[in-house]
């Protein structure tokens, strides 16, 4: 049976304070300047696949609709091509806002399980911490195994072509002073909580708006 979906939001769906929190992040300050002209949505090469257009996301964010925004596919479809940021007549840094929303969605657990894009981001993050560099073919394989393992089979042809053209390294790239890099990165965890007023992106519980979500997509 067709499932009925309510398309209008209620006041009760809001998570008060969410818009303000996003606005307080460096780079996201211009959120309030948006005039809802829709230039971003018109320019975006991926908006045709989005559940909410970029223009709608901006309005939902500043109106505190946290759950709708963080559960949307839109934030994951953003490929960071920055066309919206450059074209915006009000200088809203839409790409940066999308990044902030992705961070929130990952750290607060708002994304469909095994959804490949956040899995890629997490594995990328881990690989950089461990080795200091990323070896793309290893990253892509891990991402597929942890999200859609069937992807490994549908990509075997490409893998073979990369091997035959010498574009598939069999050894991971790494830096020499991994301990130095790890120390620098770990320092950020401690510092950002105090210095950035709790807007570190670590899901450390310092954020004011509540997590009252239950269902994923």
């Amino acid at each position: 049976m067709h499932e009925l979906v309510r398309t209008i939001k209620y006041e009760a769906d809001r998570v008060p304070g969410f818009g303000e929190e996003i606005k307080s992040v460096p780079g996201c300050e211009n959120l309030q300047s948006c005039i809802q002209c829709g230039t971003c949505s018109g320019m975006c090469p991926l908006s045709i696949y989005m559940d909410y257009t970029p223009r709608q996301i901006i309005e939902l964010v500043r109106s505190d609709f946290k759950n709708e925004v963080l559960k949307s596919y839109t934030i994951w479809l953003c490929a960071s091509c920055y066309v919206c940021t450059v074209e915006c007549p009000r200088e809203v840094h839409i790409t940066d806002i999308m990044y902030e929303l992705k961070q929130r969605a990952i750290h607060e657990g708002y994304y469909p399980k095994r959804f490949p894009i956040p899995v890629l981001a997490r594995e990328f993050f881990r690989m950089v911490f461990k080795y200091g560099r990323v070896t793309e073919n290893f990253l892509a394989t891990t991402m597929m195994l942890k999200s859609n393992w069937k992807g490994v089979f549908s990509s075997w042809k490409l893998g073979l072509k990369l091997i035959s053209t010498g574009r598939f390294p069999f050894k991971k790239e790494e830096i020499k002073r991994k301990d130095e890099l790890q120390k620098i990165l770990s320092t950020v965890d401690k510092l950002s909580i105090d210095m950035l007023g709790g807007i570190s992106h670590l899901g450390n519980g310092t954020k004011k708006s509540n997590n009252n979500h239950n269902n994923h997509h």
Binding site: P26, G27, P45, L46, I48, Y49, W76, L77, A79, S80, C81, Y82, V83, T85, V86, D96, Y99, E100, K102, Q103, I106, P116, I117, P118, L120, A121, F124, V128, G132, R133, V134, T135, E136, N137, S147, S155, L158, K161, L162, T165, G166, R167, F168, P169, E173, I175, K176, R177, L181, K183, I184, L185, T187, V188, L191, S192, M195, L196, H201, L202
Partner: protein, 290 residues
């Protein structure tokens, strides 16, 4: 002046032909460079979805290492690296708490960013430092057969580029023209290639790549030129899937540095031309049929 060469991860792997051709061209033109010692991942795109401050710190370690070694200019060929290194510099300039956090973290490794350091793309360096006149004189084999669609992709010119127009960049067009190639009108020159979506959500990702490939053919191009390893990968690697879903749009995608190298008379092997999945011979050097 010696440029500090920051390769970035992808030119060491899937995009190694970019490094091979870039270095061959720099050597041939006599542009001096040295690879940054112990450089780390720049903190690009996927990483920024995890932690923006740490992404900034990753970029900052590279910049600080370059400063410590006495460089004033970094050359970053990968467009994602180019963007993140520039973005981090801006981010630190515009936000004091960010700058303080980054510098305190760097201090744990006796590193700091205290001087102005420029992050530049090879397109910028070849066009504006080396110059078109000298480049023209260095050409040994003009690219007469080549009808090139100049494809910049997004992150070289948006949003931080200082050397080209964000809406209609022309630096690559000028370089290609100097090599004797015909540059076709290409309005999609800055449209998204699909980024990492080609691997994560193939449907929208591949559509982005397909649109660019089809338009290049429609405009009469026989080669696409790019300055980004991810763009090259997306336009070169997915022809099977694109053909199955839409139609064949086979056209080789080369790095602009490979095209410069060919015009300078450097051999194809050195330039990594054999690493293209759609070979250059698919459209170039074939007898013209009917």
């Amino acid at each position: 002046m010696k440029y500090c060469y920051y390769p970035g991860c992808s030119v060491k792997g899937t995009g190694r032909a970019y490094e091979e051709s870039l270095l061959a061209v720099l050597n041939a033109l006599g542009i001096e460079y040295e690879e940054l010692e112990d450089w780390n991942c720049c903190g690009a795109t996927a990483y920024m979805a995890m932690d923006e401050i740490k992404s900034c710190v990753l970029a900052a370690r590279n910049i600080a290492l370059a400063e410590k070694a006495g460089y004033t200019e970094i050359m970053a060929p990968c467009s994602a690296c180019y963007l993140v290194l520039n973005k981090s510099l801006r981010y630190m300039e515009s936000s004091k708490p960010v700058a303080e956090t980054v510098n305190k973290a760097l201090a744990t490794a006796n590193l700091k960013i205290s001087k102005k350091i420029k992050v530049r793309h090879p397109l910028d360096i070849i066009l504006n430092d080396y110059g078109l006149d000298r480049l023209k004189k260095a050409v040994k084999r003009p690219l007469k057969e080549f009808k090139v669609a100049p494809y910049y992709g997004c992150q070289i010119i948006r949003p931080y580029s200082t050397f080209d127009d964000q809406y209609n960049p022309t630096s690559m067009d000028k370089i290609l023209t100097a090599l004797g190639a015909t540059v076709v009108e290409f309005p999609l020159k800055t449209r998204c290639c699909g980024s990492s979506l080609t691997g994560t959500l193939p449907e929208p990702g591949l559509l982005c790549a397909y649109i660019i490939l089809r338009e290049a053919l429609r405009r009469g191009a026989n080669v696409i030129s790019t300055g980004c390893s991810l763009c090259q990968f997306n336009l070169d690697g997915y022809h099977d899937k694109i053909e199955k879903k839409w139609e064949p749009v086979r056209i080789p995608t080369l790095y602009f540095t490979q095209l410069i190298g060919l015009a300078l008379g450097i051999d194809e092997q050195t330039l990594g031309i054999h690493r293209c999945i759609v070979p250059l011979s698919a459209t170039i050097g074939q007898p013209v049929n009917s």
